[in-house]
Assembly symmetry: C2
Homo-oligomer: 877 residues x 2
Amino acid sequence: MAKNKYVYLFSEGNANMRNLLGGKGANLAEMTNIGMPVPQGFTITTEACCKYYEDGEILSDVVTKQIMDGLTKIEKMTGKKFGDKDNPLLVSVRSGARVSMPGMMDTILNLGLTSEVVEGLAKLTNNTRFAYDSYRRFIQMFSDVALGFDKSNFEKIIDKMKEEKGVKLDTQLDENDLKEMVQKFKTLFKKEMKYDFPEDPKKQLLEAVKAVFRSWENPRAIYYRRVNDIPSSWGTAVNIQSMVFGNMGEKSGTGVAFTRDPATGEKKLYGEYLMNAQGEDVVAGVRTPQPISDLEQQNKALYNEFVTIANKLEKHYKDMQDMEFTIENGKLYMLQTRNGKRTAKASLKIAVDLVNEGMISEKEALLKIEPRQLDALLHPQFDSEALKKAKQIGKGLPASPGAGSGIIAFTAERAIQLHNEGKKVVLVRLETSPEDIEGMAASEGILTARGGRTSHAAVVARGMGTACVAGCQDLIVDEENKKFKLNGKIYKEGDEISIDGSTGLIYGECIKTVDAKISGDFETIMSWADKYRVLKVRTNADTPNDAKTAFNFGAEGIGLCRTEHMFFDADRIPAVREMIVSRTVEERKKALKKLLPMQRKDFIGLYKAMQGKPVTIRFLDPPLHEFLPHEDSEIKALAKEMNISFEELKNTVAGLHEVNPMMGHRGLRLDITYPEIAEMQTRAVIEAAIKVKSEGKFDVIPEIMIPLTCDSKEFNFVRDIIKKVADEIIEEKGVELSYKIGTMIEIPRAALTADEIAKTAEFFSFGTNDLTQMTYGFSRDDAGKFLDIYYERRIFESDPFARLDQNGVGKLIKIATDLGKSVRKDIKLGICGEHGGDPSSVEFCHNAGLTYVSCSPFRVPIARLAAAQANIKNPRK
Amino acid sequence: MAKNKYVYLFSEGNANMRNLLGGKGANLAEMTNIGMPVPQGFTITTEACCKYYEDGEILSDVVTKQIMDGLTKIEKMTGKKFGDKDNPLLVSVRSGARVSMPGMMDTILNLGLTSEVVEGLAKLTNNTRFAYDSYRRFIQMFSDVALGFDKSNFEKIIDKMKEEKGVKLDTQLDENDLKEMVQKFKTLFKKEMKYDFPEDPKKQLLEAVKAVFRSWENPRAIYYRRVNDIPSSWGTAVNIQSMVFGNMGEKSGTGVAFTRDPATGEKKLYGEYLMNAQGEDVVAGVRTPQPISDLEQQNKALYNEFVTIANKLEKHYKDMQDMEFTIENGKLYMLQTRNGKRTAKASLKIAVDLVNEGMISEKEALLKIEPRQLDALLHPQFDSEALKKAKQIGKGLPASPGAGSGIIAFTAERAIQLHNEGKKVVLVRLETSPEDIEGMAASEGILTARGGRTSHAAVVARGMGTACVAGCQDLIVDEENKKFKLNGKIYKEGDEISIDGSTGLIYGECIKTVDAKISGDFETIMSWADKYRVLKVRTNADTPNDAKTAFNFGAEGIGLCRTEHMFFDADRIPAVREMIVSRTVEERKKALKKLLPMQRKDFIGLYKAMQGKPVTIRFLDPPLHEFLPHEDSEIKALAKEMNISFEELKNTVAGLHEVNPMMGHRGLRLDITYPEIAEMQTRAVIEAAIKVKSEGKFDVIPEIMIPLTCDSKEFNFVRDIIKKVADEIIEEKGVELSYKIGTMIEIPRAALTADEIAKTAEFFSFGTNDLTQMTYGFSRDDAGKFLDIYYERRIFESDPFARLDQNGVGKLIKIATDLGKSVRKDIKLGICGEHGGDPSSVEFCHNAGLTYVSCSPFRVPIARLAAAQANIKNPRK
């Protein structure tokens, strides 16, 4: 790209210049080059936008000059003159970032009109009504977008005029009405803004350009970028295009169309249009547009021309196209084409069809699918007809996708009870805690008042594939009286509700749900993905049930089994608590002995579910106080149950209290204080493996994972305990069994000293949740309070807990990877935690040379696709 | 060093081989080489010790063979034969690590004696009593050290025999008594151990060697190493030396002596000796040794020989020597020499004297002083006579050095009150919190039941230079009834106690204290230190008083002023709380306006105290809930005081609650949420600087430091706020004022992205307290619970909060330093936090290329010396 060139004529660009010209600009250029009927114009580059911000929101002289030069060239091409009343050039001014951000930024049409030019336009077109209609539209848009004068002020005038004239539609106002309207607009503008509505078209143009640049930073654009991981540094381009008019009369019109059905992927032209209208009317919905097929009857030649163009564009771009067109006095103009947005289902069908039609390769097909979209195909959904009739009663954060309907329960116990009675349940809690897990698993959906997308409820629900709406701030939960209040209405236990974990919406009734079906296209795509990826995909699973789900979704092993989740079961927690209050090692061993057969059974179930694929078992991680109650009344009850004094139990609870539990006595620190815990868990892992192996159906190679390592000596201490117990059992039983011992890398120091650790650790698994917390120095539980302001003030652009921070956390991962490989060339490297299912993080893991990612069962297909895309983009040697 | 050579004759070694031969072995070799009368022998290397542990606590064949070869050589040299009854060679077996660890490991004397050999020895020396005295000593030592048979068993026999014979001293037992004693020893041994006391001298020798190796890992050695930062990987050497006998009769004896007085440093021979005794008797204290000067009368020739040797050794080693000698039948033998331990005062005097005597250079003198020792010279001390009579009532952790005496107060308020009445106070608390600061400052000493050496009380007390004993577990505090119980006794408010923050001891009375004096030698040493160091030394000071103390100790600026400490004052906290409960920005600004003049006054005081040296001011750091009460009763009282409802205040407190406050809403995160706080603090910093500068005495260049940065954009956001306010004030006042804006690097991510941050940050200060917490993933407040076990199980060898962890935290510092310099070549790099005053950490900072360290006022001289030593060892280019 030429340096300091900020303006490109459409004829100077092409589709590959998307970063510089934006998507719209690049495609306008491309269409121009392949001979499509595109109104002439030029693009002001994204670099000009960045420069605008660097210069302190000023349009520099060099950019201004190039815009004016561009304008002159357009004048020459069109033979029209900007601001000329006899043969005026009018232009549209539209945003256009690298990636489409529909509706997020601003557009101004009909620019170039003044009180003089409008008269010329009327004369020239012999259509005064059209001219004044265009002018009043311009005044509205320009005032709103460029001058900050709210357009609702004008809407009031229009409504009042229609009332006075006794008409319903804008189109029913005649040319005199519109002239009057323009006058009223200007009078109001002057009164409110204390200056006249601008009359200099060149100034208008520059103001419009600046307005579009500014709209890059409007709150909805910022929000959209954050949600879609678009860096603010990209900036937007601005397209200046000579106007063609769909509102010039009944032989004019405007429309949008897709080359295939964006909902189903079916191969047929799909779209709608409106005669005598400008683009905004199609969107506004005042008049109902006609289906594109009607155009065939209305103007067969023009329709055929459009079909030819559409096919040509699809072939050219090798993808389904979303096109905007305008018909001006019977002549067709293309205003935009882009790869069309589509549903997940359509996305898969189109990709497979395009390959079958010989238009693209399998690799290209894989790259066309947004992995995140697959999520929608993996969870139960509301029946779409039933949903239309349902009444929305509130909204929270979409925390775990899918639809959940049932009757309300306020405690985990009650949820389990109702579930066992064969009822569908939605669990409603202020917030969930680890003791609720069983109840959560028994529920169709989980609704919480507190916590964000990374709260306990959200994380666990996503792991389970259960719908969850979290952080519903309007929800006032009264657990004691078994009711909640939401937007003024009371709901009681047993009442029916539904939640949509993909949208965050809450409904006051049971809505029918349908299980998602995995169609043949889905399978085809997954088989292609597996063909082209090298990164393995494992799953985070704590139960045989989760493991089976993941296995069916193609998981190649378990990357993380959190053994503590097994301890919260009602029949186990007494033994866990007995262990915690033990006064001696012997007492503790006695309690652990009770847990041993249960843990062993858990592992047998997991090994069987994975059918010989590797199973990574992480030893007990959370601080022990998580297993004890904290309220005096609960402590009293438990003390009685355990047959110890209230004071003693209270003392134990107090003694376990931590100022910063996240940075406290947890992970392998527990094993160092109480080696007998590690001994019991080792015994369970190894004995279970021997048992399953002895059945002869498949081999089992357990991978024991030590959590929270920060130092090699610390790791070795625990490793030695494990090895001793494991080898003793293996020798005692006289069997052959391989097992591995590795560690989580989730503490910065572990990453920094990974060479030391790799001397004895056979694998690393990056625990990016904790690693992110420690690297940033904020805890997931507390950061919610201030991170919103960080997004708002554009300090952070994405949630580091959802998208791996490559600059900081990623650097630690690279350091650890390099150090680990320097000592142990073939060290197995994985990642577990929320990031394992995030496509951009998966790509990072591929590029960083990891062996596998591990994610929740419902994210396995997403990770498989993302891994394939990563290897197609950057093949691993 | 030859490979696989594990045994060196004394004649094969020298003083430089300390790492391999240990201190004792290297010095025995050196003495041998310079012709001193040293009994012949050999040293088993530290590498043999490491190998012993690597081999699984087994003495390998290769080492065993070399020991036996060494023994043969000694036999040849001495003409005696090991295990021979006619002319027996007896040896001593002593430990000897690289650095002296007095009394921590084991020694066995008279090895080679058996029931046969003892008879031969009796005949040979014509001294049956001597032979059996040696033999019974050997049985005692060998049983205890090598065979794990407690020596107290033997002591009982000795005591009973003395009683039966009606004598008081061992020496009063005759040869028959001793023969009987040996028999009784053996009988008891057989009875208890179920095998005969070993009779094979070679086996005895190997067992003794193994016992000394094992003693490297005994609990007191492990503890000593941890306290003195000695790695366990060093191992100990073992010295096998032919015995000479101080217990051969009245012409024999043994003693220890120093070439200078180790208490005062005075140049005169200092020591004591005992005739007819072995070394252990001198230590045991049964008989009172004579001062070394008596030897002159007793045996002038021998005394002169010793003086000559002593002088020669001091000249040879260029340092004060601590020597052990034995006289055997009128002949002098040197058994050990080493650089003598000495008091801080003596250390300085000796270093200065040796330079004045032309024996060493200034640089060498500086290297001889242990920087940590200076601490003892900087705090008030108990009058030594008064201390002797005082009654110790308990013991806690020595948390902040110095002596504190006064009457007991249980609350900060009461302490202030009593202090204002002119009384000396010792504040006794369960634990201290930030609100106690004023009360702590008003006290002579602080005693707490909870918390370790890095607890709030300890850290603040060290900063203030106030004595503190923390974590006294026996202390049961009853604040409500204003009393505490300690080891069974009750102490009430108003009772007198004393605490010694250097030893942790607590006394039940007021003991007179004396202010430490800085003698001329101290000043001389400090002036030399300043001459040879390049690393600057600043101080952490929050008050003009601290700043003055530090200035007088040579601080070259303030490296850290924690502005939050200024907010806890009784007259300020209401405004702080008002700010916190503000409902709108306007309300908050109003409250901040009240704080502005107070902060400005603080800074004026600091600038003046530092007389133009740079002052680094860190903006508000702790989470806001630290400024609010948490108990309902207190909240109620405060709500009334603030004239708001209990519910509202309770809500505010609840809203500020954090799960992990260390990783919560604090540091610059507060400025991002409430920019008005940064605005107020900037105003105070800049206005104060303008005021002081306008007085014309000196220039002021404030350095504003932003805490807790994790990202460059985050830093820039706050920096922009500060810059705007500062520049506005400067322009408004029409003055010239330079200021800098920098950041703490205390979050791993800040270190990892330091290049981005350095683009706008003018300086970095490594906050190693927080950086250590985040890098290790454990919080200082919680780690105490499990770190003791880490030390016990040899996983950690030193406290990472006291000694900078160079492998992990240090790596981050290096990364940040390199990245920072890559962007801003002359970036100012400092360190603040506890590590700034730790000598080994200071050395690391010097080597890492930092500009300065900042430490508490009382550590400034220590850091100055440590910085000089670092530059002498590794001069900065």
